[in-house]
């Protein structure tokens, strides 16, 4: 991931909304009011997106939300029903895929079955020269090395396992050094180890060569780890476009909050506004009143409906016995909820524990075994208010 991500490590930056204007040369790919219908249904619905030059831009979203369709529109395999796709400010309408200088990795690999692995990787070099000072063969060897299949050049794609095929598809797309790389779940068939290594490589190549990359993944952790910005799509439209940290910590909508990472979303009525930047909410489905930090700018009054979320890792759990005994149930100013353990899933590093709290469930993290009644606490500052609706 290198220093680049390290440098950005602690700043959310001011780039949550990208603000280039239409002629901004830094805009590599722009979708302007793009809609694509299949019969009745709009697979992509009035999408506006701008992807910066050299940016690593990720699309995430539930199955069927239009990610693949968006990529296909950018690559030029589909013409939008309405709206415009622009590359560096120029409308691409009517420009065939081969003239768009995009590299594509399909969800289904799409290796040419009649060519060897080496021929597959070399195919794009028929239409673009390999990087300066490199022969075709060297380039192919380099890319096979990159995807960890250095000896596969003479094999038949069909004799490769799913993951191996996917890696070849990656190498093939990268070989001609495209300006824009479109990756549709390029690593869905790879194990975590390999995926990490490959995505580090892709990131390196991408940032070295300044390739604009638009990446579709269903692996949200991956999306967060690798992207400059993430677009979270739902039902054909992006609900939030922002850097990973923002998406994770300040989800713009309830959908984003629930889709990216585990989360506990609460909705309820504001019963008090104890201080500037703080509200107290009577949460639906539970019987406690919870205190929640709120952005100073948001005007709230008693009676409003508020939706907020707290990540499982911000919920501190203690077994109820403990809580009642040694320690105060919650530090001053904190929230405390009484719940019981419903089930737990061992995830390795942590265990995801589901708690029953009133009518609803809470997700928390645990390292040590947990059972029975527990107390859950969280700091009002760890809550993020998603929306407030005045009554």
């Amino acid at each position: 991931m290198g220093s680049e991500r390290g440098a950005e490590f602690d700043g959310d930056g001011g780039d949550a909304e990208f603000d280039g204007d239409e002629t901004d040369p830094a805009v590599a790919v722009e979708l302007d009011g793009v809609t694509k219908r299949y019969g009745e249904t709009a697979a992509v619905d009035d999408v506006g997106l701008r992807v910066r030059e050299g940016e690593f831009f990720t699309l995430v979203g539930p199955s069927g939300c239009g990610k693949t369709t968006t990529l296909r529109l950018i690559a030029g395999f589909e013409e939008p029903t309405s709206g415009t796709v622009r590359f560096a400010g120029e409308s691409m309408s009517g420009v065939p895929p081969e003239d768009r200088d995009v590299g594509v990795v399909f969800q289904s690999y799409a290796l040419f079955p009649h060519m060897t692995v080496g021929e597959n990787v070399a195919y794009g070099l028929n239409f673009a020269d390999p990087p300066e000072g490199m022969t075709r063969d060297e380039r192919v060897a380099e890319l096979l090395e990159l995807v960890d299949l250095p000896d596969a050049a003479d094999r038949d794609p069909e004799s490769l396992s799913g993951g191996q095929q996917q890696r070849i598809a990656m190498a093939r797309a990268l070989a001609p050094g495209p300006d824009v790389l479109l990756l549709d779940e390029p690593m869905s068939a790879l194990d975590a180890r390999l995926r990490e290594r490959l995505r580090a490589q892709v990131k390196r190549i991408q940032s070295e060569l300044g390739i604009t990359t638009i990446y579709v993944t269903h692996d949200q952790e991956e999306a967060l780890a690798v992207s400059d910005r993430v677009a979270v799509m739902n039902g054909g439209t992006p609900e939030q476009v922002a850097p990973p940290r923002t998406v994770y910590r300040e989800p713009a909508t309830r959908f984003v909050a629930e889709f990216v990472g585990d989360n506990n979303v609460f909705a309820g009525s504001v019963v008090d506004t104890p201080a500037e930047g703080a509200i107290a909410v009577d949460v639906d489905g539970g019987d406690e009143t919870l205190r929640v930090r709120i952005d100073a700018g948001t005007a709230t009054s008693v009676g409003d409906r508020a939706v907020f979320c707290v990540r499982p890792e911000h919920l501190r759990v203690a077994s109820a016995g403990e809580a009642a005994g040694d320690e105060p149930a919650a530090p001053a100013g904190e929230n405390a909820l009484r719940a019981t353990v419903a089930s737990a899933e061992f995830l390795g590093e942590t265990t995801r524990v589901t708690l029953d709290w009133g009518d609803r469930e809470l997700l928390v993290r645990a390292v040590d075994p947990l059972d029975g009644a527990v107390t859950v606490g969280f700091d009002p500052g760890d809550a993020h208010v998603i929306e407030v609706e005045s009554r």
């Binding site: 690559a75 399909f106 040419f112 079955p113 009649h114 195919y123 794009g124 028929n126 239409f127 797309a173």
Partner: protein, 599 residues
Amino acid sequence: MTGTDTQRLTRLREGVESHALTALAVLTSAALVVAFYYPTATVLIEAVVVDGAVTLAVFADVLTDPFYFGELARLLSGESPAAVARSLASPDRRLGIVGFTAYQAVLSTIASVALGLPAAYLLARFEFPGRKTLRSLTIVPFVLPSIMVAVGFVATFGDNGTLNAALTAIGLPPVDLLFTLEAVVIAHAFYNAPLVARVTTAAWESVDASAVETARSLGAGPVRAFVDVVAPQVYPAVLTGAALTFVFTFGTFPIVLALGGFQLATVEVFIYRLVRDLSYAEAAALAIVELVISLGVLLAYLRYEARQSTNTRGARPLPRRPLVPTAPTLRELLPRAGLAAYAVVAGVIFLAPIASMILASVTGGDGALTLNHYRFLVERQQTGAAFQVRPWPAIRNSLVFATGATLLALPMGVVVAVLTTRRYRGRTLVDAAAMAPLAVSGIIVGLGLLRGLVFGVEIAGWRIAASGAVAVVVAHAVSGYPFVVRTVSPGLDGLDRSLVESARALGASRARVIRDVELPLVWPAVVAGAAFAFAISIGEFTSTVVLATGADAYTMPVAIERFIGRRLGPATAMGVVLLVVTGLSFVVIERLGGDHRGL
């Protein structure tokens, strides 16, 4: 070479490539117009333009003539549908010539499919030595001149034929097969069952094994998995074969008269007579009727094919089984027993007539074995006058023309296949236009070529005419290219579109993708199409004799026709030459194309 030079060259190449498709489409259309549409139109127009005046009277006469349309004609001439329906239901209903022609074509199609499918099963699902060669040879019957088939059939199924000799020898009563509808239907199946077998084999080989495996894992036995998963994917190909068979047998002419007799005369027989008598108006009207019916069937089929079009390119083809059973279980033995029974039938229907032909070529007038007929060929070659047809130039011309026609038909067929696999309005029209050469009466095409090409057109004081070798090649290509379309287009249609898209994203133009990705992937279909185009050219007669000028452009079928005399020996000898030359050619063609993996 400097960088800019390279760039310029690259740009030039890309420019050429990006227009290649358009250019090919234009050339294809030009070839079609010159060698088919314009010529044919010069004849068909006579149905509606009589003595310079436009009239539908001829048509009306034909359509309301019960001789042609049976009971249907009465409907067309205004009788009540109920009355017509009643008489249609009666046992002595009249079909009319058109009705009868369709009837025998349906029977022939059923027979061809019935005889073709087991062969496809054998070729697609079993491995045995010589499988590929056998597959290559299946196309041979397709090119045999009808007179050769007649000779073979008379010798096999006649009163004194092999079949009756065999039946008598094993104590069974002889059959009186010749000059019946059955004989005609069997002969039609002789021609067309191999066609059905070929197209079906190709589709069968392209079924993805994982679909079958899934069905099996869900509980379907082999038979059920076949019915549910394999059959639906093979079905369109069977229908391709059936539709083509219907069209060919609907337009049948010499075979019905040679093996059935005039009682079984078809529409084409009357077209021939009318053209011979220069009664063009009625001939053209009949030809249009024939065209409409044939094209209707083809289009109905194409509609169906488009609906069925599925991604059939199997990532993994079904593995072939050894022909020799691995274990003596019922499951292993039963299909093979079926195939053995089929082999007997196929032996009688396909091999015996060919064997009889070969035997006839070495049998003298006295019934003794002789090489005289071949000696005749050699003598004709050595001493024949310059204006006479000699065997070697005929062989040479056949091969040269067929090669040329194939090389021309392939790009034509591929371009049309590419055009017809896209979805757009008016596609049916393109389909129809592309398939029309199959559906128009050969006699009409021949006459049209004479008028349109040999005599030429007068344009601005110049008479533009074309005949000779080049014209023959173009005409053959026009006859053969629909087969390329029909074999290639389902494959193209079924290709995973992400393959095409990958290539385009990597920078390949549309034309380049066809060359680099699509054609290699449907290569077996391309080879099959090439084989058909080659076969059509080899077997073509009507337009060859019209366009060939002088003895130097004659082909093997023409030589065969010339060598027909009171005794058929010399002609059959030439027929055997044709058999051998074509058989070898097909083996070579498919070997050349055979390196590529299955469709």
